[in-house]
Symmetry: C2
Subunit: 157 residues, 2 copies
DNA sequence: AGTCTAATCTGGAATGGTTCCGAAAATGAA
DNA sequence: TTCATTTTCGGAACCATTCCAGATTAGACT
């Protein structure tokens, strides 16, 4: 069960030689407090800004970039929806609602053996991604595709 | 084994009441001819433009949008890499090379039962996505992260 | 407590794939 | 052939994200 915590993140930053800044503390708080939402950069920015006197969106992007680059969090990258960050580092399936953008986790036993794939394909697996898209509990009864013609980008989080 | 073919796509368009235009024919050809590459909009545009006198990038986007919306192809959406389209409609894992952007398919038995998830979570699964990121055969020996500071968008296809 | 340096932050400009839009063109049925 | 409906076009708009250069700061070491 690898879930992010505020103390854990701070400790990992120290271990890796990063500096602990008020901005990073605020970002970490926003991140952990909103973990189930799989928050995006904008939500993190809004929430973290409440907890430190100075914070810019660029900092959030840079910080989250480093966090995910060093494996402190995982980033879910999307095209028609802003990227999201998740602190559940266990292997799991993300259930992503096509309508409201909600993301829920579904635990997953280790079904596929990366090594097996590596052996057969000569491919070195470093990161996995499994997602199910569909309608969440709330939206399944209220279906109707997004209004307007071609789908518009969301910023749901 | 559900793989796209030129005839199959044209037939499906007819069945669904779409019009068969020279642009769509060219796009279909580019799509099928480059299927293993999981081509993106730009590659499709470049290739298709060779086969019809008139074609705009907007048309490629609109057409591919409709194709994937109607299940004729599947779109792989990325953030730091342009979106890709694939004609392999069987359930499989996409092996995505973090360095060169190559995408290979790895067949996958139906391991996870969507119904099971639906039952437990109240989530209606409509689409699945499973991807492994890492280094492909060619890049595994030539590792070194992308040059430059923060990673730049790719357009590899 | 003070210095110093590399790391970090900032805000605005730039990026670039994708979408949007109105008008022109073309398909396929009658 | 005519006509209604799609489809196409091209350029402008969109917008999350990245980039940049200058200002600030954390933390180590006096």
């Amino acid at each position: 069960m690898k879930q992010i915590t505020k103390e854990g993140l701070v400790r990992q930053l120290r271990e890796k030689g990063f500096k602990i800044t008020p901005q990073r503390r605020a970002i970490i708080e926003a991140l952990v407090d909103n973990r189930p939402l799989h928050p995006g950069a904008h939500l993190i920015f809004e929430e973290a800004k409440k907890k430190t006197k100075s914070l810019s969106l660029s900092t959030v992007y840079a910080t989250m970039g480093e966090f995910s680059q060093h494996g402190l969090v995982k980033s879910l990258e999307f095209d028609r929806m802003d990227n999201r960050y998740e602190g559940n580092l266990d292997e799991h399936v993300n259930l992503i609602c096509k309508r409201c953008g909600r993301i829920e986790d579904y635990p997953l036993p280790a079904l596929i053996e990366p090594k097996e794939i590596a052996g057969k394909m000569g491919f070195r697996v470093m990161d996995a991604r499994m997602e199910y898209y569909g309608f969440c509990r709330d939206c399944v009864t209220n279906q109707s595709d997004l209004p307007g013609g071609r789908m518009r980008r969301n910023r749901k989080s």
